[in-house]
């Protein structure tokens, strides 16, 4: 199947889409052709849904997303060596040289670099599987 949708929001946080499309166009799509709204209307009309349950769902979903955000923000980044992995199946010699160069540089100028938000290789190897 081929489906045509409409992007209600801006392209990104640095986009102001009202500069290239009228707000009336967004409002019309949202009011008359939003599949989420239409589904809600349908199940409400069948007595399967109501405004109170809708509000609760929105609130629960928001909480779930925000708490996932908070947790994720505290997850350390992969170890610095990972910068050089997966360019190829195995790193060629020149890449290993560059990795060693970075390691040495970070050691010598350690006080100028923030690296504690990167995992250690051991942490990474033993990290829990998110699934």
């Amino acid at each position: 199947t081929q489906s045509t949708g409409y992007r209600i929001g801006h392209h990104s946080t640095s986009d102001d889409s009202s500069r290239y499309r009228p707000n009336s166009e967004i409002d019309e799509w949202n009011a008359t052709n939003n599949p989420i709204t239409r589904l809600r209307g349908f199940i409400e009309s069948r007595g399967l849904w109501d405004a109170e349950r809708d509000a609760q769902l929105n609130s629960d979903a928001r909480d779930a997303v925000l708490s996932a955000f908070r947790e994720a923000e505290h997850v350390p980044k992969p170890p610095i060596d990972e910068l050089f992995n997966d360019v190829y199946d195995t790193p060629p010699a020149h890449l290993l040289q560059q990795r060693d160069h970075l390691r040495a540089h970070l050691e010598e100028y350690a006080e100028h670099y923030q690296t504690d938000h990167f995992m250690s290789p051991d942490e990474y190897a033993n990290r829990p599987n998110p699934r």
Binding site: E82, L83, L106
Partner: protein
């Protein structure tokens, strides 16, 4: 699209610069100036180009409303929708269309929204634009063509909003490759590029669009292509760079002076192809030490070309092997960006190695 090519408002008769020598930057600085950032300065250049040459037109993705970096703000309102217009999301088409327009005498300024997206246009640029004059024995050319594109690290761009592809284009005879690092020179360089009689790839450091601010002459002026600019004079080490990296190197030069008592000469190439070998060689003859720095990956980067050429020209004068401080040979990373880029400390460390060799 062809309708606008034939319309009266986009005249297919390129107006070459009528004055034998256009106003220089220093001459223009004596007149009225306005404090502008980089994207405003580029906007001013495009406005001037559109105002002074009816064969100039401007197009690309989202260019009509002002562009995602605001570089083309108000130009459509001022110069009309048949000279400033949007294209479909198709870089091959943008470049191909621009080649076609330039071939029949227009002066198209085509925008590729991010240099990371320039690769679908690569064939049009390398196989068509670059070779147009040569393959026709100068019967035809696309000299009016300018392709402008934001390049480089931006703090969060990752693999596909951070690339520095200058090396691919510097490897292509027939093209000129230009890159500004400051607003006033950027205005003059873009005007010179648009008016140059060869296809130019004009790479704009997106990092500096808003953060680089200075007084920019109101006048119509040009900064000549093929000439490097010396930012800082020094007798100990020659530093060569371009674009946003210039500001990192300037900080490293300060650090070298204060921490090591080493005086660096800092040279901005501005034109990467053809690059100003004479200015760099004259400096290396004096200092005996060369360091080139760029965000782009090390292997096959423009730094390699500069080091090889200077080694050949200045071998007996060199006190140490020419050094390169560059991005690593990996795709541009996301979470590791701060560690990937050639920062001032890496440059400082390399300067230290050069003087202690």
């Amino acid at each position: 699209m062809f309708k606008s090519v034939r319309s009266k408002t986009c005249v297919l008769a390129r107006r070459f610069s009528t004055s034998a020598s256009p106003l220089t930057l220093s001459e223009a600085m004596k007149g009225p100036t306005t404090k502008l950032n980089l994207f405003m300065a580029l906007n001013a250049a495009m406005d001037t180009a559109l105002s002074t040459d009816p064969s100039v037109c401007l197009f690309g993705e989202d260019v009509a409303f002002g562009g995602v970096f605001r570089a083309t703000t108000d130009l459509r309102e001022k110069h009309g929708d048949d000279r400033v217009f949007n294209t479909p999301l198709c870089e091959q088409g943008i470049a191909g269309f621009a080649v076609g327009m330039a071939a029949v005498g227009a002066t198209p300024v085509a925008e590729i929204q991010f240099a990371d997206y320039i690769f679908p246009a690569f064939d049009q640029i390398v196989n068509e634009a670059a070779k147009y004059r040569y393959r026709s024995g100068n019967q035809f050319d696309v000299g009016g063509l300018t392709i402008r594109s934001p390049y480089g690290a931006v703090g969060h761009g990752g693999l596909y909003h951070s690339q520095s592809p200058e090396a691919y284009f510097c490897h292509t005879p027939g093209l000129k490759v230009v890159m500004p690092a400051t607003p006033a020179a950027a205005k003059g360089l873009l005007l010179a590029s648009i008016r140059d009689k060869n296809p130019v790839v004009f790479l704009e450091p997106k990092w500096l669009y808003r953060s680089a601010v200075e007084e920019v002459p109101d006048a119509d002026f040009e900064v000549p292509l093929g000439e490097a600019a010396v930012w800082r004079q020094g007798d100990d080490v020659t530093l060569v760079g371009w674009g946003a990296q210039m500001h990192v190197m300037a900080e490293a030069a300060e650090l070298a002076a204060s921490e090591l008592g080493v005086e660096c000469e800092l040279i901005e190439l501005r034109t990467l192809l053809p690059w100003d070998q004479a200015t760099v060689a004259a400096s290396v003859e004096r200092t005996g030490r060369l360091l080139v720095s760029h965000e782009a990956p090390r292997t096959g980067g423009l730094g390699a070309e500069i080091c090889a050429q200077m080694q050949e020209q200045c071998f007996l004068r060199l006190e140490a092997p020419p050094a390169r401080v560059t991005g690593y040979d990996t795709p541009f990373p996301l979470v590791f960006e701060k560690l990937y880029v050639p920062d001032k400390l890496k440059i400082f460390a390399a300067i230290k190695d050069l003087v202690n060799y």
